[in-house]
Symmetry: D2
Subunit: 258 residues, 4 copies
Amino acid sequence: PDHFFLIAGPCVVENEELVMEVAHKVSSICKRLEVPYVFKASYRKANRTSANSFTGIGDDNGLSLIKKVGEAFNLPTTSDIHAHEEAAMAAPFIDILQIPAFLCRQTDLLVAAAETGKIVNVKKGQFLSGPSMKFAADKIKKAGNEKVMLTERGNTFGYTDLVVDYRNITWMKEIGVPVIMDCTHSLQQPNQTSGVTGGNPQLIGTVASAAIATGADGLFIETHPDPSCALSDGANMLRLDLLEGLLEKLVKLRKAVV
Amino acid sequence: PDHFFLIAGPCVVENEELVMEVAHKVSSICKRLEVPYVFKASYRKANRTSANSFTGIGDDNGLSLIKKVGEAFNLPTTSDIHAHEEAAMAAPFIDILQIPAFLCRQTDLLVAAAETGKIVNVKKGQFLSGPSMKFAADKIKKAGNEKVMLTERGNTFGYTDLVVDYRNITWMKEIGVPVIMDCTHSLQQPNQTSGVTGGNPQLIGTVASAAIATGADGLFIETHPDPSCALSDGANMLRLDLLEGLLEKLVKLRKAVV
Amino acid sequence: PDHFFLIAGPCVVENEELVMEVAHKVSSICKRLEVPYVFKASYRKANRTSANSFTGIGDDNGLSLIKKVGEAFNLPTTSDIHAHEEAAMAAPFIDILQIPAFLCRQTDLLVAAAETGKIVNVKKGQFLSGPSMKFAADKIKKAGNEKVMLTERGNTFGYTDLVVDYRNITWMKEIGVPVIMDCTHSLQQPNQTSGVTGGNPQLIGTVASAAIATGADGLFIETHPDPSCALSDGANMLRLDLLEGLLEKLVKLRKAVV
Amino acid sequence: PDHFFLIAGPCVVENEELVMEVAHKVSSICKRLEVPYVFKASYRKANRTSANSFTGIGDDNGLSLIKKVGEAFNLPTTSDIHAHEEAAMAAPFIDILQIPAFLCRQTDLLVAAAETGKIVNVKKGQFLSGPSMKFAADKIKKAGNEKVMLTERGNTFGYTDLVVDYRNITWMKEIGVPVIMDCTHSLQQPNQTSGVTGGNPQLIGTVASAAIATGADGLFIETHPDPSCALSDGANMLRLDLLEGLLEKLVKLRKAVV
């Protein structure tokens, strides 16, 4: 296709006002730029480093607000699930079930997601190569669901850094499924002594540009009106008012690739 | 204490004959060498690379056989759980609940394990530093269970290799809990194109010796009478008849450390 | 500038016929595409893995042929030096002195290169971060030479692989010097048991596209009419007849970036 | 042999008083513990990160003082060389020529060192595997010198950390030469934004113990009466008054290994 698609939203459903504001602004920008837009927010954070971190406003509340956003702005939506029984719970509310990177090898979870019939987007583990994601895709297909997408989110590079290996874009496209670059979590700085994962948001443009140039089909970008106040992942989210300029550049780049 | 302890057994409960044979032989050796012994076998493999791999003989059958082994040889036992609801299911059958490395950040799983009141042994993720495991231990303690152990199993080192950083033994001991070296999975060679994780079993002695020298409290070693026929992890298990010679050397080394 | 520049040629001066053929073909392509072209060949290979590998046809012969190529096709030229006394020896024959990655921290070598007054292109060590290359650039500037360029060539990623971290393009550009992507050596597979470094030449397009998208000023590509017969680095060189198609795509991409 | 040997001294020859003090104290300790001792100091630092760092008191002065130390205390001595012409210059003053890790692939340097007839100790590059060091040893042997030693000093692990892979001790011993663990530089923290390499000296005991347990023949430890005042590598050197206690533990450990 001529256009890449965008999966974007705040890291977690903090409250109705926030998700509505983000969806409103991002959908306006994407409409103008003809970028297909999927609204994303987590209804729960299940693997925060520290037990003291914010984890959500309740699964029901979170999922209902995501659905409300989708209906209000006529957008497909996505969120991440963390245990096999969540697949059936979340499926009625969203269009794409996202499998977290740490869980990409959990067969029960992949199969449960597959069985909902929804699109399943598996994030590549920080410990996995692109070609190995074929086995994750196969688990979903074997469960009867061909609607698989794979997301690159960087690989472990020492304890406190991740590196994005763009060969993985090429290799995962050879699996025959859409490939997405997660521009947010690829820039995480894990294993901080504070128990709060750090980040490098000023490099989002670098990560996104290289992804488009190497053929990524979609981008994943977490965005927030004020990342410094965000309840999760503030260190990496893009300030919402910077999104439009970034997308304009990427749309131009994409036209030179296809 | 003067002695290190040993967690050992076949990777997975294949059948009754196998688990009885392994427990019989290992418990005899450990009795002679005064090494406290915990029998280990998985009742299910939940994160095999490929959907076609063997995953077990059924949870009930597997857990019952582990309990039977413990009673027959008067041994504490351990097995790994993969979802929060498995904690309460498995706890009546075993003494130590093991949390897989990929899942060491899943708060729900850690809390459910903690709430059984059993000892919880968390394997360090391939993507985590030793000091970060403090946050996993804290999640368990905050749920009211002080009986935590941590297991080193190597860190991601490129796509197809793991490396053991022995600084992690020192760092995790500073958390104030027993620290175990998993000598089997530390030698895995992940991301093979075959979908079958490779290994380096001839280096088990190297991994174990360095662990004892740096103060590990326990060792984890998967062993099988004939690894080439094993239904899981054959590439890394120690041939059962090599265990006694290895333990003799390690016992001698331990005496020079404490 | 509107255009990126290209440093290209065979890995090593094998004989006159080869260097003339490559320079002729590449200069024709670059003229048509308006890509500034610098001819590259090594006059000696000083750090081959194995003592049995081909190392050159003699320094004088090699350097003379490089100069001859430059004059015949009116091209600037470059080659790599390996010891401080080679700087003064090589400078009369070439326009850009290249410092090998393993040697990028050798102060004597950097200073000797700087003192020739020629452009000095320092390849980033496989063990260094982009921001650290500031210290290499400073050593050259402190010796009175402001004509510095820096080249990315991948970072150590386990024993047998390299990974290109494109954040380094962004970070090195902040140093204020031209930044080049070495598309050939970034794809090396070091530490092979054979003693012959392996490669992945089919991924040259991936590496080059991401570099242009992230703002690289130049590309370095080793090319050979028949890489399988090349006397050095055959595993990574681009087949000469594939160069034109690749450059066309990259020129188009560049126009969308600047 | 029953004992491991020790290569120790200050990082660089700062002045006569320092080298005499260190050699006096270390040789007394080693005599008592029956640990064969080789005095080490660099006469020049050739690859400091920053051009502003201290590099030595002059080659002649440095080498003469090293020789004087050797004669005064009847000790073999070692120092590192950085260019092929330094081999013949340094050889009359020292017993073991050490090749720096960054330079372990430079054939000219290895051959020049070999041709002095002295023992050649090659440090393993941060980018190399243990088995690959066979090719370095072979270059020296091919030049007619069988007296090769290899030194482990950690591998690149992200930008700002090194990791010691003890499998390399096992693998390099299979090459059939003495293997040394550099306990000082293995703990470096490279690529600091300050341009001064950091360190973790409190972990020297961890690194050394694991090395002895896995069969290292020798240890390399830089030591200084007051590391905080040292002119190079202060971040990693062991305080001289801590050496004796460490060696006592290691001697005890060694007896349990052989």
